[in-house]
Symmetry: C2
Subunit: 351 residues, 2 copies
């Protein structure tokens, strides 16, 4: 593990994020919940969606673009569904609330689907897909991305976002399988991370408005992301946007506010969480052993030349979580400088 | 529209498929339901999943590999979920049954998820995703493909299938948006259709066991399909296989029977259908107008050089359904010959 970048413990990071939010007027319990989720994102190695985003969240709060004391309302409620109005609160808090509700409903009905509107950026999709695991449930989360970077297939107007999906499935002795993917070849958060590191992107992540490859992340605003599988990724992004956005009365298409560029407009971000009770289909232990068997099978495949190992979705997440829980989270110098500035602005103890 | 290939009306095709199944001992009502769904696949332009598959289904029935008088059992039942045992019946009948059940449950609960095991190949995914549309519901269907053609990313053992997903969403004045996609760049049905037409595949659909492009569909057995977005498509195929297979106690991984090569082993095919009641989230008319607006937005995007139009998922399906309903379904000469042979074997009136 590289030690060229200073590391910070999850505990220290969580405390820093908590006091940052508290300094903006957020109730301490909410600040603590949000800080726990953001720190979890960093522990999992989702560098583009963790504390890296904190300055943007705080900036939006200070610009009155995000409500630190939201009152969540249940606009619709059925036995196995609900629609939550997030009252322009931090996305982490809205989706934490929505996911707990979905789990509570699924306990009774077998499956539940909870949508949210008037929410905001909520960090990595896997945070919410993984919450139901502890109740022997499978989680599925979909969101409308918080900025449009993808045109419809064949077009040049960025009407779609990276609209991600995450699905988490528990195993017995192996780590859970956690798929967390953008519908684009690269997520925009990854582009931002590469930019901050001063590196270049591989070809295939983005093209410019003439269709030529774009590899300099500092020029990202001049081009757009490419969907996986061409028209298929476009189709997935479109459908996910409809399910998480249009259906919930949340922003989709031209309504999506670029939260990187605009800190004041209400984003009306939409998400959905589905919780599925494994007990409604199988004995949970039998199922978990079955997932272990899936691990063994995939791992046992002969390899293509040049490949050292088959990996399963969530394997890196699990390994990194272990490493960072033990050794701390590496934070780049530019990010540390940003967080130091933030501490000064908020008049709180630095990290 | 090309008239070089003879066309057959949907009515004539449906009657032919019905009498084919009846000749195998299938009850007439079931034969009619199955024939309607198979014909619908051809009307929609899903050439690889319609009557093209009939000889295989009949072959399996005659080899005692498929039960023409299945008794569906509800192995698990919760308010919003169920697990159906298809008793080795035709997949179309199992999933028609499962989808009606999901719609009935979703009417009460807002959302329902019904899984099936001991089923068989059920034709195109969109057939079932589209059934809930008439009740102002969104449909989502996932299946374990009926033959493994995809290794885990980086491997060479074909442990995964094209595991497709379909999602259908109703519009008001525009056609419904219907995404129906394999998690591979090309579905294996498409490879078979290309082979039957004597054409070559484009590069990117398949590679051989050395990783070199494979473009001759007659050599398809020597290689494997490529997933969309590399590891992402592998992850989607894996997760869909777990949700439709492992969770339902259906075949997944090495257990999957290649139904093209083996007509007698029980396939234990798994599928799932989710029905989501739009009324649990929004006024259905408002939502449908919102989907029309999505159509208009996507269509209005400026185009990349060389592109004539933005298309929406389901647009071609809708157009082809209209054309074929009016003008009939084109059937290639080899397929017509196969169906003529089938009629002789079954001692029924030919098409």
């Amino acid at each position: 593990m590289s030690q060229t970048v200073p590391h910070v413990s999850g505990t220290a990071l969580e405390a820093f994020i908590t006091r940052s939010f508290v300094a903006t007027g957020m109730p301490r319990a909410d600040a603590h919940t949000a800080a726990g989720l953001i720190t979890q994102a960093d522990l999992m190695g989702q560098d583009g969606h963790g504390v890296f985003r904190l300055p943007m969240y705080i900036n939006r709060i200070r610009a009155k673009g995000l409500n630190v004391r939201p009152r969540f309302r249940r606009l619709q409620n059925r036995t196995a569904t609900a629609l939550i109005d997030g009252d322009n609160g931090l996305g982490h808090l809205v989706m934490h609330h929505a996911t707990l509700l979905a789990m509570e409903k699924a306990e009774k009905t077998g499956v539940a689907w909870v949508g949210a509107r008037h929410s905001n950026h909520a960090g990595p999709a896997s945070l919410y897909a993984m919450m139901p695991l502890k109740k022997d449930m499978i989680g599925l989360y979909i969101a409308v991305g918080s900025a449009n970077h993808l045109p419809p297939w064949g077009g040049t107007e960025m009407l779609l976002s990276t609209n991600p999906i995450a699905v988490a499935v528990p195993a017995m002795n192996r780590p859970p399988i956690v798929l967390d993917m953008a519908t684009t070849v690269a997520a925009y958060g990854k582009v931002k991370t590469v930019a901050q590191k001063g590196e270049m992107m591989p070809e295939g992540w983005m093209i410019d408005r003439n269709g030529a490859p774009l590899t300099d992340p500092s020029r990202a605003a001049e081009g757009f992301l490419l969907p996986i599988g061409g028209p298929k990724g476009y189709g997935l992004s479109l459908i996910f946007g409809i399910l998480a956005g249009t259906l919930n009365g949340a922003a989709f298409g031209r309504e999506v506010v670029d939260f990187n560029a605009d800190s004041t407009s209400v984003t009306n971000t939409g998400h959905l969480i589905l919780a599925l009770d494994i007990k409604a289909f199988a004995d949970p232990d039998t199922f978990r052993h079955g997932i272990d068997a899936v691990w063994e099978q995939m791992k046992s495949s002969p390899l293509l030349p040049g490949v050292d190992e088959i990996r399963l979705p969530g394997e890196r997440l699990h390994r990194v979580t272990g490493e960072r829980s033990a050794n701390g989270i590496p934070l780049s110098a530019p990010l540390r400088a940003q967080l130091a500035d933030l501490a000064k602005e908020l008049e709180i103890d630095p990290l």
